[in-house]
């Protein structure tokens, strides 16, 4: 029976980007998440102008997805065969607060439509899916911490019930002054040998903690 394996994974935290456990970009000079994301975006030369309109957590998820998908692992799959299942602890709290501040004062009441549209965490999934034209199963879950077992079980179930053939999974979280992304790509095309990483809770937990 075919099994999902993890083909590639990306961590973004502490102003560094890791792909498959190796640092590929570092910007210690960035004095904020906003500045770091801008530097990272320029570094990856994506050229996707809509990036600038996204809120910070969507930018974070977008850059992690760019790192995973730059070699187009989805190229021989139909859009509806690729799913995206993400999770975090804070939902879009930072953006929610930003929007709340814009409507706090009756004398200066200018709710921003472009901030409002990002006050849901699944919008981040939407941005990734629009960018790569993915139309498979999508879900966003809120947990206190990254739940490797849930992620493995849920995505494996989607795979075994033939709802998808590949999936982006992971954790993208932002709280005031802190952020972290851990995204991975899993499909069933990787040969079963000693180097392959099975899509299990234990393996996800191990990969997630590699940069701890």
């Amino acid at each position: 029976m075919k099994q999902l394996k993890i083909k590639t994974y990306c961590h973004i935290k502490n102003h560094q980007i890791y792909v498959d456990g190796q640092v590929v970009f570092s910007a210690p000079e960035a004095d904020s998440m906003k500045k770091f994301l801008k530097l990272a975006f320029k570094h990856i030369k994506s050229g996707y102008a809509k990036f600038y309109k996204m809120d910070e957590i969507s930018k974070l998820g977008f850059i992690a997805a760019e790192m995973l998908l730059k070699n187009k692992p989805y190229s021989d799959l139909r859009p509806e065969e690729v799913g995206v299942v993400l999770s975090n602890a804070q939902s879009t709290l930072v953006t929610d607060k930003l929007f709340q501040e814009s409507i706090q004062n009756n004398a200066d009441f200018y709710p921003s439509p472009s901030v409002f549209v990002y006050t849901l965490p699944n919008i981040m999934i939407g941005e990734i899916c629009i960018r790569y034209e993915l139309r498979g199963e999508q879900a966003f879950y809120i947990f206190e911490n990254f739940s490797a077992n849930f992620m493995a079980n849920y995505i494996n179930h989607l795979f075994l019930s033939h709802k998808l053939k590949a999936c982006i999974g992971g954790w993208v979280d932002q709280s005031p002054g802190n952020y972290e992304a851990f995204l991975y790509w899993a499909d069933d095309k990787i040969a079963d040998d000693q180097t392959s990483i099975r899509h299990t809770g234990n393996e996800l937990e191990r990969l997630y903690n590699l940069t701890a």
Binding site: Y52, K53, S114
Partner: protein, 81 residues
């Protein structure tokens, strides 16, 4: 018009864009122009209200008003309080 261009760049987060990159008669929406979308249109309505105290009563008028920087500037000139 320079000030209006700067306000649009700021309000719409058009980073990496300079005022001189925006032609005064270039269409703001659609593939040929700046490529703005429907959310940007709402932001432009907020910008007029916030910066110039101009309220657009009929959203259908937006298509003409927001056609270009030139049409926006004309509208502001005519309706500024």
């Amino acid at each position: 018009m320079q000030k209006l261009k700067e306000q649009i760049i700021e309000q719409l987060n058009l980073e990496d864009m300079e005022p001189e990159d925006i032609g005064e008669n270039d269409p703001l929406f659609g593939d040929e122009g700046l490529g703005l979308d429907s959310i940007d249109a709402l932001e432009l309505i907020v910008l007029l209200e916030k910066e110039y105290s101009i309220k657009i009563e009929n959203p259908k008028d937006g298509q003409k008003i927001f056609y270009s920087i030139h049409t926006m500037a004309e509208f502001i000139q005519d309706h500024k309080k």
